[in-house]
């Protein structure tokens, strides 16, 4: 039993990533505040990053590291744009509740 806690294996990283990803999914699905949703998306991206890096280490393949950097860059850009949109929406509507932001369906 104690082995599980003291011998850190690849499986631990993968489980961590899976848990993070699930938290992210649930956050995106259930939270109403656009800011929290954005944060949950960040969580999912980072969970994916951990998975990618874990497998890269497993297979001694540097492609995974490169991919992780691309994901970080995209996440940064996405966060910047997303936050800008949220701020703009909040300024015009005085709220950021995505349940009430449905006008794009038209």
């Amino acid at each position: 039993m104690s082995n599980v806690f003291f011998n850190i294996t690849y499986g631990h990283f993968l489980v961590l990533a899976a848990v993070m990803f699930c938290i992210g999914v649930i956050g995106v699905l259930l939270r109403r505040n656009a800011l929290i949703v954005l944060m949950s998306i960040e969580l999912q991206l980072n969970a994916a990053n951990i998975t990618v890096l874990t497998f890269a280490r497993m297979h001694n393949d540097m492609h995974g590291h490169a991919l992780a950097f691309i994901v970080i860059a995209v996440a940064a850009a996405e966060a910047a744009v997303g936050l800008a949109i949220v701020v703009a929406v909040f300024r015009s509507r005085h709220h950021a509740d995505i349940d009430r932001l449905t006008s794009l369906k038209h």
């Binding site: 995106v28 699905l29 995505i98 349940d99 932001l101 449905t102 006008s103 794009l104 369906k105």
Partner: protein, 791 residues
């Protein structure tokens, strides 16, 4: 070259048509009829110039033995060139088409002039003259064409104009119906015409000399110096293909000839496709005169004469043409007896006279047929124009039972009508006597060499003579009912009776004048009298064909002429006795009861032919059309395709609108659920089985041997992510343990062995639990088999 003017003859009326149809409605009537009459008159003068100039010279050259130089030829451009098929838009003016263009342009011109008076008050004046010009142009293309497809352009063109002009007053439903009827019945004939054309092409295109690229031409280039000669006239050996080329079991000339003749029965109103012509009288009367008496309906006769080189090679086809013509002549004459409409009588008369012409060309008396065509064009056009004048005077009614006594009131119409009646009845010395007599003489002596019915010619003669008797009777019945006795019209109509204006009566008198003198063109073979028509047409029709037609001489000829005259006079006498002062009591008594009434009823109802077609063809056709409309059109197309498409799109739209609600999180649920579903469906759960294949190339015997009996075992643990990470352990009966999804195991000898497969783990499985599966595998002996190689 002078022949380069030929294209102008059809072109001028076509230009007139284009002008009147496009610009006419905006212009004054004076301009419209000036252009219409002027274009036809110009065409007439071009035709006249070519006729008396170059064509006459060619004819003289031909007569003096200068070989085949009878046609003027003009190649306008190459119309279609596909593979070995080459169709030129080419015109040929020979003595035959020369006669036709003179008739078409001259009679056409007179009728154009007459129309300016007759149609003076019509709303669609320009359209009328546009159609009339279009008709004249199409008819001239038809007669000037140098090959069958170009002739077919004209053939269809005149059919179109006929339809447009019959239904000219289409506001009246029955007039529009008459137009449609004419068009559709003509289509039946045209279809056969096309088939005949294709057949000739199929059969003749491969033949050198006559065939090749110009199989459908009437005239072909005979020599390199550009002389053009009739298809049959190149050398005698070129006749052979027409004689012997076969299609299936039949000879081409026979089948092709009959198919083309079916086309002619449609256009020229012969049995069985004649029923449109009486209804065609719905059109304006000048149209009836020009299209349905003088020109278009004679197109079939012209076509048979034009294709004489083909008909000359099939006695059977000629016999069919002659027989149908003769029967039609008699049949239509009888139907004319009981008609009460002025124009309907003339319509049946036209059908009957066309029958005469077909008999003539059918027995090979081409010059007689064409001669009758010419004389008939003049007196029948005149009769229709006179009828128009009478109807004009009678306030638009053509009912002859309401006429009578018009002699004094319409003096010029009366005198010309009388001349036409005498001519059509075949009374000496008017033109009808000569042309009809020549047909009767030709038919009487008709004997084909390979034709076994010895009396066929005499039979044709008898039928035609009876038809001629009928002709004289119904024409003078008409004459006496219209002009004789007392006027039976009501007082109001009576007060309006007046002679027509000069634009109408002058053409009547001109036509009457020609009717009197045209007989001189075809004098009978008595003494040294010249038959101008015969010698004029000789270069243009097949010489071999004249062997068919008889040329009675001496006493026989006198007897035939005498009998024709006697029968004609008898018909007139009978009409005089019964109708000289209106319908006599004898007629009334005869038609009021007993067998006479029954016969009268049948004849009055035109032998119920229309009703027969209605029952046999139209009703089943309507039934099919209606059911197709109800099922295919209304159900399949309207409901399933049109409405169905709308319903599908509507439903899809509703679903999409429900899905696309703007709730981002709802979309996200979709993504997550979708991913889970893909994950689930692409997994095939743990199957935990295995298969095996024995390597038959390795020696495997019943006795133990080292390294023998190789077998490959393959585990199947399922598929997809849910079974990823599973491990397989193989346990064999000899305590050996192997790992891996696929293992190779060697047994020492053939036989049955038990194998246990154990599966551990997998992504969604309990890692601790081991599932096992056992199976007995059987290894066969490979001894003695190919590749076995064991000792």
């Amino acid at each position: 070259m002078k022949s380069d003017l030929i294209y102008l003859i059809p072109m001028l009326p076509l230009l007139g048509a284009a002008f009147n149809l496009i610009l006419g409605p905006k212009l004054s009537r004076r301009v419209v009829h000036f252009v219409a009459v002027g274009s036809v008159a110009a065409a007439f003068f071009v035709a006249l110039y070519l006729f008396v100039g170059p064509l006459w010279d060619q004819y003289q050259a031909h007569k003096h033995g200068k070989a085949h130089t009878a046609a003027l030829y003009q190649h306008v451009y190459t119309w279609i060139e596909v593979g070995s098929l080459k169709l030129d838009l080419a015109f040929a003016l020979d003595t035959l088409s020369g006669v036709m263009i003179m008739v078409v342009t001259f009679v056409g011109m007179l009728i154009h002039i007459y129309s300016t008076g007759y149609m003076a008050h019509d709303k669609r004046y320009a359209a009328y003259f546009g159609y009339l010009n279009l008709f004249t142009g199409a008819m001239l293309i038809l007669v000037l064409a140098n090959n069958l497809p170009v002739m077919f352009i004209g053939w269809e063109g005149v059919g179109l104009c006929s339809y447009l002009l019959i239904g000219f007053w289409f506001e009246k439903e029955e007039f529009a119906y008459a137009g449609r009827k004419a068009f559709i019945i003509n289509r039946v004939g045209d279809f056969a015409f096309l088939l005949g054309m294709f057949l000739i092409w199929m059969s003749m295109s491969g033949v050198e000399g006559i065939g090749g690229a110009h199989a459908l031409d009437f005239y072909k280039a005979a020599t390199e110096n550009g002389t053009w000669t009739l298809s049959h006239g190149i050398t005698d050996s070129h006749l052979q293909p027409w004689l012997w080329n076969t299609v299936g079991d039949g000879r081409m000339a026979l089948i092709g000839g009959i198919l083309l003749f079916i086309g002619a029965t449609g256009k020229s109103a012969q049995i069985p496709l004649y029923i449109w012509l009486p209804d065609a009288m719905a059109g304006p009367t000048p149209v009836s005169a020009l299209i349905h008496a003088a020109t278009m309906v004679t197109a079939g006769v012209y076509m048979v004469a034009r294709m004489s080189f083909m008909y000359a090679n099939s006695t059977g086809a000629m016999a069919v043409v002659a027989g149908v013509g003769a029967i039609t002549a008699l049949f239509a004459a009888i139907m004319a007896f009981a008609q009460t409409d002025l124009k309907k009588v003339l319509a049946y008369s036209t059908i009957s006279q066309l029958g005469f012409m077909f008999t003539a060309v059918g027995v090979g008396a081409y010059s007689a047929g064409i001669f009758h065509l010419v004389t008939h064009a003049f007196f029948k056009a005149g009769l229709f124009l006179a009828a128009g004048s009478i109807i004009h005077a009678m306030s638009g009614s053509g009912d002859i039972t309401k006429m009578g006594g018009l002699r004094a009131k319409l003096p010029r119409t009366h005198i010309s009508f009388l001349i036409y009646c005498v001519a059509i009845s075949g009374i000496f010395p008017l033109s009808g006597f000569f042309s009809k007599d020549e047909i009767l003489a030709g038919a009487f002596g008709a004997h084909a060499q390979d034709w076994s019915w010895g009396l066929y010619g005499e039979f044709l003669w008898l039928v035609l003579t009876l038809a001629a008797l009928g002709t004289a009777f119904y024409m003078f019945r008409l004459y006496f009912l219209v002009f004789g006795g007392e006027c039976r019209a009501d007082d109001e109509t009576k007060a309006h009776i007046h002679e027509s204006p000069a634009s109408m009566t002058v053409p009547l008198l001109i036509l009457a004048g020609f009717t009197c003198v045209l007989g001189g063109l075809g004098l009978p073979h008595i003494g040294g009298l010249p038959n101008l028509m015969h010698s004029w047409l000789e270069p243009s029709v097949s010489a071999t064909a004249s062997a068919w037609a008889g040329h009675p001489h001496g006493v026989t000829l006198y007897a035939l002429m005498g009998s024709a005259l006697v029968f004609g006079l008898a018909g007139i006498g009978l009409a005089y006795a019964l109708y000289s002062k209106g319908p006599s009591e004898a007629v009334a008594r005869w038609t009021s009861g007993g067998i006479g009434a029954k016969v009268h009823k049948v004849v009055y109802n035109k032998f119920y032919v229309d009703e027969f077609y209605e029952l046999v063809i139209l009703r089943p056709f309507r039934w099919i059309a209606r059911s197709t409309w109800e099922f295919v059109d209304k159900f399949v197309i309207d409901t399933v395709f049109v409405t169905g498409t709308a319903v599908v799109v509507d439903v899809a739209g509703r679903i999409a609108r429900w899905v696309q609600n703007g709730q981002v999180q709802r979309y996200m649920v979709g993504i997550v659920v979708g991913a889970a579903l893909i994950f689930g469906f692409s997994s095939r759960g743990p199957a935990d089985k295995f298969g095996y294949t024995q390597d038959m190339s390795v020696a495997c015997g019943a006795t133990p041997a080292p390294g023998a009996c190789m077998v490959t075992l393959r585990a199947d643990v399922g598929a997809g992510p849910s079974v990823q990470g599973a491990h397989v352990v193989w346990r064999f009966s000899d305590k050996l343990v192997m790992r891996g999804f696929e293992v190779k195991k060697t047994f020492s000898k053939a036989g049955k062995y038990k194998v246990v497969m154990e599966v551990q783990g997998g992504a969604l499985q309990d890692a601790k639990k081991t599932r096992s599966y056992s199976r007995t595998i059987e290894l066969k002996t490979t001894m003695g088999k190919a590749g076995g190689g064991a000792k």
